[in-house]
Symmetry: D2
Subunit: 468 residues, 4 copies
């Protein structure tokens, strides 16, 4: 068994760094906390479990949690109407009949809805987790109970990780013809270990930047013999990940961690890109008094015309109650700023990296750190002043808030439609190449390329139900 | 010990109904969930505990939880700057020196800040809980560790409840001269059991409507020999409890229970009073499409001029994603409405009673209830349609959201200033009567009555720090 | 003829001071500017004019302007749907059949719609102007052409004023039985000159505070033998005159006078009452950065919770681009403030008096005044700095903006319904007293008094059409 | 003299069609209405006029209007701080010393500030009008009085138009070395008539799309021997022309024409591009209930997430009070829609062409048109229903509103800086080509090309003063 860990991959790094730049997302649904981590310490690989129909074609933490997991899936279904509608519309024609999909994604309630939709459309699925920590055990149990061959649990070792992937691919009498991947590990495994399977794959749908990058490398090396599609990187997704989601998650993240009242609070938001715009709109609407720092003149102009005071951080740092970074730069909030903040100032990061706030500079002997809640530290100065640091400067929206199911639904619907497209495309429509959905789109009707048509179909599908 | 339960009071009723109409509030801080309910089952009354200074002049669940409780108090202090400032300003002159206060309130981090402020101003305090469920055990432990004589734990029996109150009042060599009460139970107990103590009380500060009502009854009967002040029922408090708090808690409550995305959602809000105005403003700001039902023409007019569609519930019930009631009336949402809602519609109540949604009508055999999360039920129709019912129709803002510390701080500061006022008032300023702070105030400078001056002082104190 | 000017009245004062405190409003519709003031100088009283039907039972500036006036009336009708609907509904039953109404109001397109509605409901009307400057000559001509006995023109002398009133009342074979008045001059004239007519009046409907005051004096003196109703002073009217109208007229007034761009402008609004709230909401929404000064703590608190910076005027006076006063106090903006303003700062008044800005202090030799447009002065400091003063510190919303027809429609509908009510009320319902519609109304259903019922009827009538 | 009209140009067409697609803008400042059109009918070309210094090196309508024109210029200066600041900063070094600029633009108060700035920086200027109707005569007079050689008046004939241009170029002892043009007529004239002058021009700054198009044609034909710069077409300008300006001009245009109250009105906006976004934001903020029609799925999605109902026009056309088109398409509002509108519905166009509303379909015998005010027509159906059509379907923002000086200031500052840049550029920096400022810019710091640097400089200059 140990052999799996010898495979040279990025898993180890990811499990340490949890950098967002590698996998599609490291956000863990709030529901992850329901997972009982004080469970027995027996490895799932050593357990004998069967579901209620007698099948043991899976490996999860505890099949008995299936019922609770089913609840989570049902909750998720409520806000994924596009997938449910796809399920209903295409159930008759079974556009994925004959498809044998191996998948490797986060195992959450939302992906469970995707997997079960693929099954409803005629596919056979075998699934593993793309991250050793992100599996919701209950959801995995519910999938197993429903007959999906799922191999995943929270807290896998690196060896477990590859073992699970292998169990998905390596099955007698069953050969995958489609891949749905998030991060490229599954693709790489099939490519390296099962080259004969790989050659017969009809299409790969990849969700992450890293995975796409690896596909491009294969392609450049002339070794990609399969059409692949990056479904995640479209303009719609960008707008949702930034503007629309952050507009909600800034409130949610601050409220869950600090219960702070927004009305009347003095706030400074560093950066007025899409993320900053979302944060500012929400806070302004709830009665906060919002100041903005911005070095790009176009963005500063927009902030100004939107009615915000554009300031230098130094000018306002003594007065503000909340500091939020969304610049994408390093050390926007320095130790000097932190020294000058007033007592009980809340500091958090909504930007791209965990380096916007110079948290390292706070790890000095004269300052005392107190962990007052999960994700909430009080950093205490010698004179008693406290600064409230959230998520140790990591991304507030990922650490302390949830991604709305509706947003995840957009990606999931895109994945499903991309799989249908690739599986049913006439010979020659897609070559052995990597396809990206439009990253930018003028606000005009899409033109007539294949990908633009697909993209339009996705948008119509995701939102048409939503609008009307 | 059993004798205490014989006392004919409202405790029994309250513990069953938890109606907001009786105590000041039955909201439980989110932190209450940190309380370890799987604790050992030994009654605190039977435990022998001492704090680190060797005192055992208290009775709490577990003194060892003090450190965690101290964290909670420190968090609360961050948003109670008026009290902290009062502490600093008045610490020198000790305006409560000599005051011996018995208190009976919810025992939360916020009241802990109040109690410790009273102590810092020179008072001696003995404290019990006004509700058998609402005590944060860790906070009680922290108070005990700090030397406050606190007698309270979560999950008291009715007998425990009275025992705790009695322990506060009945102590050799210490006689209370001030009462701080929430609900009137403590006051009633002193009045009935310790009439000699009662006569020498200099003033009562009462927070709840019920408590004030009981004081009026005493007063009418000519038996109130002490001036009493209702600190809770002022215009400031009303604005915060309704407009400003609900503007935030509607978002918080919906997000914590359902993780729903607000942007683009069709919402109907029933009622456009202060609560409705708060809900609508917040939801509109986050991109929801808000419809309003309202029967009062003035309120309907305001809704209209604020840019909302005024509709009849029947007209929109089929399309909406979220239904929120804030009318104060009964059965605003009927079974018929529920029958016509679309799949996954969320239904919740922000109004005054738990009867706005006809939940009873849903308890019929053909409907299946599934509890999918704490406070979240799926009610399932025979055709599979699910309606997402929050908090079983009880108040969302109390059940699924937290009251911001800043709001609690207003009441706490008012209580502290009222105690100082009553304790230091020259003979004759207050008679043996019940005083209410201005319930309505034209938006003009307060006039020159004593109470108006006090009120102005409170406002300036609470907000002056906040504004500038 | 000269005799009329001997009558001791307030007309002289009003024509000089134009204070809003006396008549219902001194706002002149923008259309007033269409009036050809370079007309021939022959007094209308000396002209012989007949309308197209041969009648000369009127006295207006120029009957030939009737067609243009008809256009203005038609425009007004477009936004007075409540009156038009009343006209349609009640046209069959003619609830004013037999009513002989003498009226004295501003003669504008909107009052023309009212007058023609009263005629359509069966009344006979004779009309004069309540202000010597406010008549729209074209509208008067259109009314005359349509057969209404109207006696009014722009620029009446005081003698003309009384002559017109007298012509309305004093007609052989026609005796008024209802009065519709604005300011009380007509009422006073009938009372003094035609006591026998006055005794048989069934009801007076009065629109202005001054008129009501005079009625009260009569009533106190025991000389009011007629029921009278103040239709103007209700909560609905207050909300519209302040919050909703000012929200629009601040933008309109600033734009028409200065063409200033709002986006990004630094603004300070002095006072956060209803008027201030309206101004701030509008300016914030259009991207201005709004600061507020406020001395009342409740209002300051609201400003703060609504997300505005509460400042002292001195702190911001050097930076702001626009200064707006809405306090109701004197000398809020002093010479010292004006000295410190930056070049091109715009200063205007939306408050109650023309004394909020200390304009007198600017009339000193070292400052140069330049009238750059109608209602726009540049005041120039020795160093070249210019301050842009609007309407010489008088009310911007009256001087430089129009009152929306919809708002005037509320009053007009109220007047019509009040006339119907008084004319048809059973004996005894109204006594010889002055009735005010509810000035304040809790946001609850109106109770059951006669006036509350009437008020509810008015609201439903005005807005029901509007809502649905 | 007649010879000038023989020159084959676009002037004739423009003067008829006034299409925005040809010149930079056909907006006429509101101040244009101050121009006394009832003036004597003597052609300025036949008048002998001298300014107060004895010069007659100009040709304007009436030099006596200079003082009023100066007021208009002073008003404009108040909101053009970037130009004034440029004037002050560069006045010492005179970066345009030696520049001889011929200009051909709209002659308005704002361009007067530009021209006087160029003079203050050392340039000599001769100026004519780019449109035969758009000259503010008073402003031309003020320029002439100040010594600028200006040849322009309102209501030029086509022959006059070319005569004026020629008078600018053709002067003994003075040879232009820079051109500032709007529309390309001046450039073309110099190119055709004065090829020797043209060859020695150091640079052309062109403001309009048409002019740039003509330059490109020259360039393609290998005949452009001068570097030219299109200063108008940058991202900043786009944002201001659309989003920020329309946010204000929709309110201004509706108010000035109809005095309509926005609060509570039902509005449908066709199209949710930048213009639509601006209109919707403003109307929503003032309490209108806004519906949107949109066929582009991305824009529809944005509308939805911004909280607007996305509808089909047919669904709402019967209920709405206001219809606004901003799609850029033809016949968005058809006769069928117009037939179904309710009485008093207001219809206007904010989009790109004058064909969005099918106005032609309304010119049928059964419909009556009444011009009720300037730019306002009532179209009356046989049953009496009226539709209020603004500006006969042409652009509301150009016809019935003013462009804020601040926006014109951006263009003017850009023109000034472009002239300085071209005049002082080292040999070789600019070739004989047409340069466009960045049309799109990611919201990131500009890169390092020459044009991007210039653009950044412009932004910093225009807005830096504005922000801080």
């Amino acid at each position: 068994m140990q052999e799996f860990s010898k495979f040279p991959t990025k898993t180890g790094r990811r499990s340490l760094s949890r950098s967002i730049s590698q996998s599609s997302t490291d956000s863990y649904s709030s529901a992850a906390s329901y997972t009982d981590s004080s469970d027995d310490e027996v490895s799932p690989r050593e357990k004998q479990q069967t579901n209620s129909k007698g099948s043991s074609n899976f490996c999860v933490k505890n099949i008995k949690q299936a019922e609770f997991g089913r609840r989570e899936i049902e909750i998720a279904e409520q806000d994924m109407s596009a997938l449910i509608s796809l399920r209903k519309r295409a159930q008759g024609e079974k556009p994925l009949a004959g498809a044998k999909i191996v998948g490797c994604t986060h195992i959450t309630a939302q992906t469970a809805v995707l997997i079960e939709t693929l099954c409803a459309l005629g596919a056979q699925c075998r699934w593993s987790a793309c991250n050793i920590y992100s599996t919701q055990n209950e959801v995995a149990a519910a999938l197993a109970e429903a007959g999906v061959a799922v191999f995943a649990w929270k807290g896998e070792s690196e060896d477990d990780f590859w073992w699970c992937i292998d169990r998905c691919v390596n099955m007698d009498g069953w050969q995958a013809n489609m891949i749905l991947d998030d991060g490229g590990d599954l693709t790489h495994w099939v490519y390296k270990k099962y080259p004969n399977v790989f050659k017969k794959i009809r299409g790969i749908v990849e969700e992450s930047v890293t995975g796409v990058h690896r596909l491009y490398q294969l392609s450049k090396a002339g070794k990609l013999c399969v059409p692949a599609m990056n479904v995640n990187d479209s303009v719609t997704k960008q707008k949702f990940d930034n503007l629309y989601c952050c507009r909600e998650s800034i409130l949610d993240g601050l409220k869950r961690t600090t219960d702070v009242m927004f009305g009347g609070k003095q706030v400074v938001v560093c950066g007025y890109g899409e993320v900053g715009k979302g944060c500012c709109a929400a806070l302004k609407a709830l009665g906060a008094i919002v100041n903005i720092t911005e070095i790009d003149p176009i963005c500063a102009l927009q902030a100004c015309m939107d009615g915000f005071r554009v300031v230098k951080l130094n000018e306002v740092i003594r007065q503000v109650d909340v500091v939020i970074t969304c610049t994408g730069n390093k050390n926007v909030v320095t130790r000097e700023h932190l020294d000058r903040m007033k007592n009980s100032c809340i500091v958090c990061n909504m930007g791209h990296s965990n380096t916007e706030i110079d948290v390292t500079s706070l790890r000095t002997p004269e300052l005392t750190w107190e962990r007052v809640r999960s994700q909430v530290d009080h950093v205490i100065w010698p004179d008693g002043k406290r600064v409230v640091l959230l998520a140790e400067g990591r991304l507030l929206n990922l650490s302390c808030s949830t991604v709305p199911t509706f947003v995840l639904s957009i990606t999931a619907t895109t994945q499903a439609l991309a799989l249908i497209e690739l599986y049913n495309a006439p010979e020659g429509r897609y070559k052995q190449d990597v396809y990206l959905l439009p990253k930018k789109m003028g606000e005009t009707r899409p033109h007539e390329t294949t990908l633009e048509k697909l993209f339009l179909k996705i948008i119509l599908f995701c939102f048409i139900l939503f609008f009307f």
